[in-house]
Symmetry: C2
Subunit: 387 residues, 2 copies
């Protein structure tokens, strides 16, 4: 992927704004306010690592009509001016006594108040990236009724544009390459930290921008966690290592894992791996337009239950994917959300197959009219072995 | 630094808990609840990259007496069990209808209610990492008066232990090495992205864990932003490039920048650079136990004002540093906070010295009884040149 594919054409942001304004119209909202890096980047194209600093709040107001309005610290003014946004209000942050709240309040109350209703993300999988006391002050200082718009925004972002899909596909392919190369530059005696450090370097050399997430767990014949590590632990013959990575290109994530054996793979691990691999195939087949997330879950879980799974401590078996490592919604037995073309998601079947021993597979897919399509290169049916 | 210096002895967490419980006693709080990665890691030692996923909330309750209590998704149980924490309550997250709130409510109300007051971080530089609607439900479901404890927690973390300081010093030294090596493997014709990618790789090879923040800006004789990029821009002869990085070792950040010239450095840039360098020296001299943050600001700004600075769009000239890229408080003309031994902070004098052209320097220091000490290796007085 040449680098001319970085960023988006202005039409992408016009389209996103058009869609959310239609949803806002249906929900009778005069405006919405968003505060997180992903939400702000989604509507403005403002792409900065500076959100790593929690000191200053940032706000974007999407009115019922017209372009989004930025209400941001002065330090961001030149960066925001380079986006498609025209109205940029700034204040000299940090200013703890009034860190943008009066400016934001003035921006909101200057808008036409047709319904007297303002949307803020308040529900599941949302956060307000601002002091909670300031959020309360804002709500108290405006005449609007405040309405939760979290699901409306998450639902919009669940379906990706072709340009978004290409970015995710690109980072999935880079990361597939790196996973496939890993056994060639790892050996028994390397620690989890040494192996994942080399993979981080390999990903950068292949053109990834950064790796915000790279977890590793290992143990004899399986691992007991998929969210800790890497540690100084040195896997021994018979161990299984999982590496799960969220790597980024131009602001879009992949999120998938691979398992590796050391020296040899025990027979019970081999059998469990075949079951999880087969479960993923079943999830892939079930992931079609019109299917519900819970149906994808069932397709995968039945395979593992038939195998004799003891349980799943992860709480779900896949999720949306895009600007964040994990996005709404979940591949979960109670999730009724429908798949449609353009949805990008992970399939992540996993089970505890013996006490303290898990196996988890993960791939990233996009839903098309014809069914699911892999964005990652499918893991081989047999666990690769490091010697 | 050998890897035995990863993590902390249990006494570190006992001490942190002891200190906060003394502060809680003075504030008449029966308990506090924290939700962010850094706060949870600070009190428990639970160190996971999994907070990169925004789906699930995590909670730690610090009671008036005894160890902190974890109220966390099941997926984190084995990881938390490996820390010094004994009481771990879990629920199968994600569960949007009740994502830990009833469990957290039960944990809080089971504690002795001496004052009927619960601390939550609500003030400047805090966020609640949970849906705002759930925070409101929690507050409504407990009998306690809810008190803002943000500053209490930030103030505690402002002063670092010797073990924390050594981690920060280590990553500052690695990153100083990488900055010094950079001109040797960069040349005119390289893009900002190519230069920073190589630096990311170099940092990993030198033993850094990750680089969550690496920003680059360049322009003829100075740059107009220090929070955007890197981009595909290829600096030309006469350009100045700034690279600012927050790189991490074992969960602790450095945060400093370096400037580079291309081909040559123009005379006006050379003079401005000398002024900013001298301003940093003045800030270093002023940063002593008993000094206020605003005095450090003044010491630096006077030098640049004498030079003829047009302004500063950053909003401050330094800040606390540690588990986050930027921590409370600010080197700001209105910040009255006092320095004391153990404080780790950045000095970041910067100015717009000509329209659209900034120069910013940054170093990381620790305050000792005798005054400031550099954790970074001081930038050379002349801007290094890439040819």
């Amino acid at each position: 992927m040449s680098d001319f594919t970085r960023s988006f054409a202005p039409a992408e942001f016009e389209q996103r704004t058009h869609i959310v304004q239609r949803l806002m119209h249906d929900a009778r909202l005069d405006a919405i306010v968003v505060t997180t890096e992903a939400e702000i980047r989604y509507f403005t194209g403002f792409h900065s690592q500076f959100f790593e600093s929690p000191t200053r709040p940032w706000f974007v107001v999407v009115p019922a009509e017209g372009k989004p309005i930025a209400v941001i610290p002065t330090i961001g003014e030149t960066g925001m001016a380079a986006t498609w946004i025209d109205q940029i209000h700034t204040w000299p942050s940090p200013r703890p006594a009034d860190d943008g709240i009066s400016l934001l309040q003035g921006t909101i109350t200057a808008l036409p108040a047709r319904h007297g209703r303002l949307g803020l993300p308040l529900g599941p999988e949302s956060i307000l990236r601002m002091p909670a006391g300031d959020a309360q002050r804002l709500v108290d200082s405006i005449p609007h009724e405040v309405i939760d718009c979290a699901e409306m925004l998450l639902r919009q972002r669940f379906v990706k544009s072709p340009a978004e899909i290409e970015k995710i596909r690109h980072v999935c392919q880079i990361t597939s390459d790196a996973f496939e190369a890993l056994p060639g530059h790892s050996q028994i005696g390397d620690s989890e930290i040494a192996i994942t450090r080399r993979m981080r370097i390999d990903l950068l050399e292949r053109g990834a921008d950064s790796t915000p997430f790279m977890v590793a767990g290992s143990g004899p014949g399986g691992y007991d966690s998929i969210i800790m590590g890497p540690t100084q632990r040195v896997p021994k013959a018979g161990d299984v290592l999982i590496i799960d990575t969220g790597t980024v290109f131009d602001g879009y994530f992949c999120d998938f894992d691979r398992n590796f054996g050391f020296g040899h793979v025990a027979d019970d691990v081999r059998r469990a791996n075949a079951a999880v691999h087969q479960a993923l195939d079943a999830g892939f087949a079930a992931a079609r337009p019109g299917a519900r997330m819970r149906e994808v879950w069932s397709a995968m879980w039945w395979v593992m239950e038939d195998f004799g799974a003891l349980g799943n401590s992860i709480g779900r078996m896949g999720h949306g994917l895009g600007m964040l490592l994990t996005e709404w919604p979940s591949v979960h037995p109670e999730d009724e959300n429908l798949l449609e073309p353009g949805v990008v998601m992970t399939l992540e079947p996993g089970m505890t197959f013996a006490p303290g021993r898990q196996l988890v597979h993960e791939e990233n897919i996009v839903i098309t009219e014809a069914g699911a399509e892999y964005l990652t290169r499918r893991a081989p049916p047999e666990i690769p072995v490091i010697r």
